[in-house]
C-alpha cells in the first residue's frame, strides 16, 4: 500500500482519481507527492513521496532535525512548501480541515497562559463554531466529553499551568479528539509523559484505530515503535523507507535512517564484545 519508490508519473498536474497504490484517492487519508521544504536555502525535506493507508497507526521515525515535524507542518499548510502536492482524501488541506486533527508538540505553547483545561479543549471545536460566534453548549459538552475520555474530567476548571506535563499532553490530545477528525497528526505525543499518560494515549490510539481513524505520529522511542504502531515512515531529509512495521522497521533501514550514529554505536558494541 505504501509505495515510495514507485516510478509512476507524479509530474502530471491533474489530480489522479486513483492513488499509486491503486486505491481511489478519496480513500487515502494522506497522499504526499514530491514534497520539498526549505528554510532559506537549506532544504529540510527533499522529494518526499508517501501515501498513508487508512485506519492505521503510523509512526514517523528519524533522527533530530530530520524534518519529521516539518513534514506534518508542511502538510497542514503551516510552513510554506517549496514544491510538491499534498492531498487529504483526494482534496487539498483547506477543503478538508474539519477532517484533520492536529496535536502539536507540548513545548510549542506557553503553558502559563490564562485559560483552563476546558478552554483549551474547546479550541478543538472552533473550526465548527464559526467566526465571531460564542461557543454553544453542544460544543462545550463535546469538549467536556473529550476531557473525560482522556481521564482528565476532574481537571476541566484547572488553570493549565497547574497541570503536570503528562496532563498537559492529555489536554492537547483531548483538544484534537474534540474535533472528531478522521486523520490525526500528533507531534511527539509520548515525549516526556508519565507512565499513566503513556498508557492512556496508547488506549486512545487503539480506540481511534478501531473507529477507522488514521493516526500519524512523530515518535522518538525506537523501543516501542513495533509495539504501538502498525506502519512506520522512516525519514531523514528524504523518505528512507515506509511500510508495515514488521517488514520496514528493520535494523538495516534504521541504520540508513540514523546513519553514522547507529553505525558508530554498533562499532562500539562490537569493540566491547570483542574485548571480552
Amino acid at each position: 500500500m505504501i509505495d515510495t519508490h514507485a516510478a509512476t508519473d507524479v509530474t502530471s498536474t491533474d489530480t489522479p482519481a486513483v492513488s499509486r497504490g491503486g486505491l481511489p484517492l478519496d480513500r487515502v487519508p494522506l497522499a504526499v507527492h514530491d514534497l520539498t521544504v526549505a528554510y532559506y536555502r537549506k532544504p529540510v525535506l527533499w522529494d518526499v513521496d508517501f501515501e498513508a493507508p487508512e485506519g492505521k497507526l503510523i509512526a514517523i521515525v528519524g533522527p533530530n532535525g530530520a524534518g519529521k515535524s516539518t513534514l506534518i507542518k508542511a502538510a497542514l499548510d503551516l510552513v510554506p512548501r517549496t514544491s510538491g502536492r499534498v492531498l487529504f482524501y483526494g482534496k487539498p488541506y483547506r477543503r478538508q480541515r474539519q477532517l484533520i486533527g492536529y496535536v502539536p508538540q507540548r513545548e510549542s505553547v506557553d503553558w502559563d497562559f490564562p485559560v483552563t483545561a476546558l478552554d483549551v479543549v474547546v479550541m478543538g471545536r472552533y473550526g465548527q463554531v464559526g467566526w465571531c460566534r460564542p461557543v454553544g453548549r453542544q460544543h462545550r459538552e463535546a469538549a467536556r466529553a473529550a476531557l473525560e475520555h482522556v481521564g482528565m474530567g476532574d481537571f476541566a476548571g484547572r488553570q493549565i499551568s497547574q497541570l503536570s506535563g503528562g496532563q498537559q499532553q492529555r489536554v492537547f490530545l483531548a483538544r484534537a479528539l474534540a474535533q472528531d477528525a478522521r486523520l490525526y497528526f500528533m507531534d511527539e505525543p509520548f515525549a516526556g509523559v508519565d507512565a499513566a499518560t503513556e498508557k492512556a494515549i496508547v488506549r486512545i490510539l487503539h480506540e481511534l484505530r478501531s473507529g477507522g481513524r488514521t493516526v500519524i505520529a512523530v515518535h522518538h522511542d525506537l523501543q516501542t515503535v513495533p509495539e504501538y504502531f502498525d506502519h512506520v515512515l522512516l525519514v531523514n531529509l528524504r523518505v528512507v523507507a515506509a511500510g508495515p512495521t514488521a517488514s520496514t522497521f528493520t535494523s538495516e533501514n534504521l541504520q540508513k535512517t540514523f546513519g553514522g550514529r547507529l553505525t558508530l554505536l554498533d562499532q562500539a558494541a562490537h569493540a566491547l564484545a570483542s574485548r571480552r
Partner: protein, 563 residues
C-alpha cells in the same frame, strides 16, 4: 491658549448637546447584538461616558467655560489644593476636568483590552515601535498640509499621517521578521529608532520652514492631556468603543491565536489576518492616544495595566476586564491629580498611577503576587522542617513506639531523645533544629523533657506517624517502580514527599499492597484517623543513629542483606 491654537471654532462646531444624543444612538445601535450577557457591560460603559461628556445645565452651563475654568485649575504657585477644589475635581463638576477624565479613562480602558492580547501574544514592544513610527507621519503630514496652504494643525490630517506611518512601522517589523533572518527584537529596535530618527529630522525641517508655526507638534512626543477637547474625547471614545467591540467579537479567535498560532491555522483561522486586525486596533488606540499621553508613554498604557491584571486572575476574560479597569482607573486618578496640581504633566501622572497599580498587584495579588508566593514558600519550608523533626523523633524510638501502638502513653514509650542524638540524625545546624523544635513545641507536637531532651506528644505521634508513613511509602514506591538505588532513596523522598496528596498515597497503597501485605491489612476499614489505624511500613534503609542491634529481629536480615 485654546484660541491661540485656533481650536475654539472646532469645539463649538462639535456642540456637545447635539453630538451626545447622536453618539448615544449610534453606540446603542452598534452594540445591540452585544447588549446581552457580558458584553452589555461594554455598552453601558460607552453610554455612560457619552452621558458624562454632555454638559448638563445644572452644573455646567456657561459657568464652566474652558477659559473660566482654567483659572481654577492653574494656580500661579504650587500649593496644596483646597478641599473644595478636590471635591470639584472628584465630583467631575468642571466641564474641562470631566472631558479630560472621561477621555483618559476611555483611552486607558481601550488600551488595557487590546494590550491584554498584545501582552499574551508577546508583542508588548510592538506598541513601542509603532508609536515611535508615528512621529515621521505626523511631521510629514504637517509639512504636506502647510505646503498645500492648509492649516498644519488639522488634527485629522496629522492623525492620518500618524496612522499610516504607525501601520508602516508594524508592517516593517513583520516583514523583516518574515523575510529575513533578523530576529524580532532586532527588527523592533531598528524600526523604532529609524522611524523616530526620521521623525526628529523632519521636525528639524519644520523648524526652518517659513511658516514655522510648529509649536504644539511636540505635544505628540510628550503628550498634552490637560488640553484635551471635547472632540478629542469623543474621538477617543469612538476608537475605544471600536476596540472593545472588535475584541469582544473576536475574543475567541484572539485567544486561540495568542495561545497556539499553529493550531489556529488548523481551525481555519488565518494568523496573518488576525494579527493584522489585532495590531490594527493597537495602531488605532496608539494614534488616538498620542496627543493625550504622548508617543513615549502610550506604550505604558498598553502594557502595564494588562501586566498588572495578570496577577489577579487566570481567566483571560477576567484579565481583559481587570486590565480595562486598571487602565480606566489610571486615567481617572492621573487626570484628577494633574487637575489639582497642574504643574505635573497628566500623561506622566497617568503612567505613574498605572505603575502604582502594577506594584500593588505584584506585591499583594492573592494567587500570583510576591507576598502570597513568598508566604506559601515559607509555609512549605516550615511544614517540611516540621515533618523532619517529627520523623527524627519517631525514628529514634521507633521499635518501642511501634510495640506500644494503641496503648495510652504510646508517645512517651520510647522515652525522651536527647538533643545531640536528634542533631546527629540529619545534616541540620543546631540553630535550625532548635528553631524547628521550638515551633513543634508551640504547635503542641513535642514536649521538652527536662535535660534538653524531647519526645512526641500524642498529637505529635499521630502527625509523625502520618509523615513517616507517607515518606516510607514514597521510598518503597521509588524502590519498586523507579529503579532508584537504595542509597539515594532517602534524599529523593525528602525532596518529594510533600507532593504526596491523599489520592497518590491511596494509589501507592494499592500498588504496594501486593508486595507488602501488612500495609493492606492495616488500611482496610480504618476510615478516618489513618494515622493510628494504618501501619507504618518499615524503612527500606538503615536509619541514622540506629545501630544494627536496635533493629527488630524480623527486619535485621532485611537491612543487613542490603548493606
Amino acid at each position: 491658549m485654546l484660541r491661540s491654537q485656533g481650536l475654539t471654532p472646532l469645539a463649538t462646531d462639535l456642540d456637545p448637546s447635539r453630538v451626545a444624543p447622536r453618539c448615544a444612538g449610534t453606540v446603542t445601535r452598534a452594540l445591540r447584538p452585544f447588549l446581552h450577557g457580558r458584553r452589555g457591560i461594554l455598552a453601558c460603559l460607552c453610554m455612560a461616558s457619552v452621558v458624562l461628556l454632555a454638559p448638563d445645565a445644572a452644573v455646567g452651563g456657561t459657568e464652566t467655560h474652558p477659559e473660566a475654568d482654567r483659572s481654577l485649575r492653574a494656580p500661579a504657585t504650587w500649593q496644596l489644593p483646597s478641599v473644595p477644589q478636590v471635591m470639584r475635581v472628584l465630583s467631575l463638576r468642571d466641564y474641562n476636568t470631566r472631558v479630560v477624565v472621561v477621555g483618559t479613562m476611555l483611552l486607558g480602558a481601550g488600551a488595557g483590552i487590546i494590550g491584554t492580547f498584545l501582552l499574551l501574544r508577546k508583542r508588548a514592544l510592538m506598541a513601542d515601535a509603532l508609536s515611535h513610527a508615528a512621529l515621521p507621519g505626523i511631521a510629514l503630514a504637517f509639512i504636506v498640509l502647510e505646503a498645500a496652504g492648509l492649516s498644519g494643525k488639522s488634527r485629522f490630517g496629522l492623525l492620518s499621517g500618524a496612522l499610516v506611518f504607525g501601520a508602516a512601522g508594524v508592517g516593517a517589523v513583520l516583514m523583516i521578521r518574515r523575510w529575513t533572518r533578523v530576529k524580532e527584537d532586532a527588527a523592533l529596535a531598528i524600526v523604532l529608532s529609524v522611524f523616530f530618527g526620521l521623525g526628529v529630522a523632519l521636525l528639524g525641517v519644520i523648524q526652518r520652514m517659513a511658516t514655522g508655526n510648529a509649536a504644539g507638534l511636540e505635544a505628540f512626543i510628550y503628550g498634552k492631556t490637560a488640553s484635551m477637547l471635547f472632540s478629542d474625547a469623543v474621538w477617543i471614545g469612538a476608537v475605544a468603543g471600536v476596540v472593545m467591540v472588535v475584541c469582544g467579537m473576536f475574543f475567541k479567535e484572539f485567544t486561540l491565536l495568542c495561545f497556539d498560532q499553529d493550531f489556529a491555522g488548523t481551525q481555519g483561522r488565518s494568523g496573518l489576518l488576525l494579527d493584522t486586525l489585532m495590531l490594527g486596533l493597537a495602531v488605532l488606540i496608539t494614534v488616538i492616544g498620542l496627543q493625550a499621553v504622548g508617543l513615549i508613554l502610550i506604550v505604558a498604557l498598553l502594557v502595564i495595566p494588562p501586566a498588572a491584571a495578570r496577577f489577579w486572575t487566570h481567566r483571560l476574560p477576567v484579565m481583559a476586564v481587570i486590565a480595562a479597569g486598571f487602565g480606566a482607573l489610571s486615567g481617572l486618578l492621573g487626570a484628577s491629580v494633574s487637575a489639582l496640581a497642574p504643574r505635573l504633566p497628566a500623561g506622566a501622572i497617568i503612567i505613574l498611577v498605572a505603575a502604582l497599580l502594577f506594584g500593588v498587584s505584584l506585591l499583594f495579588a492573592p494567587a500570583r503576587g510576591f507576598l502570597s508566593t513568598a508566604w506559601q514558600r515559607f509555609r512549605l519550608e516550615r511544614k517540611v522542617g516540621q515533618q523532619h523533626v517529627l520523623r527524627a523523633l519517631f525514628e529514634s524510638g521507633e521499635p518501642l513506639v511501634q510495640q506500644a501502638q494503641g496503648k495510652p502513653g504510646a508517645a512517651a514509650a520510647a522515652g525522651p531523645v536527647p538533643f545531640a542524638a536528634l542533631l546527629a540524625q540529619r545534616s541540620w545546624s543546631p540553630a535550625t533544629l532548635r528553631r524547628l523544635l521550638a515551633a513543634a513545641r508551640r504547635a503542641g507536637l513535642t514536649r521538652r523533657d527536662g535535660d534538653d531532651a524531647y519526645h512526641l506528644t500524642d498529637a505529635g505521634l499521630a502527625a509523625a506517624r502520618r509523615a513517616v508513613r507517607n515518606h516510607r511509602l514514597w521510598e518503597l514506591y521509588l524502590l519498586t517502580h523507579a529503579e532508584v538505588a537504595t542509597s539515594h532513596v532517602d534524599h529523593n523522598a525528602d525532596a518529594l514527599e510533600d507532593v504526596l496528596d491523599p489520592t497518590l498515597v491511596a494509589q501507592l497503597e494499592e500498588t504496594l499492597a501486593a508486595q507488602h501485605p501488612h500495609l493492606a491489612a492495616a488500611t482496610g476499614p480504618a476510615g478516618e484517623g489513618p494515622a493510628v489505624a494504618a501501619a507504618v511500613p518499615p524503612s527500606p534503609h538503615r536509619l541514622p543513629g540506629q545501630g544494627a542491634q536496635d533493629v527488630p529481629a524480623g527486619r535485621a536480615g532485611n537491612v543487613s542483606g542490603r548493606r
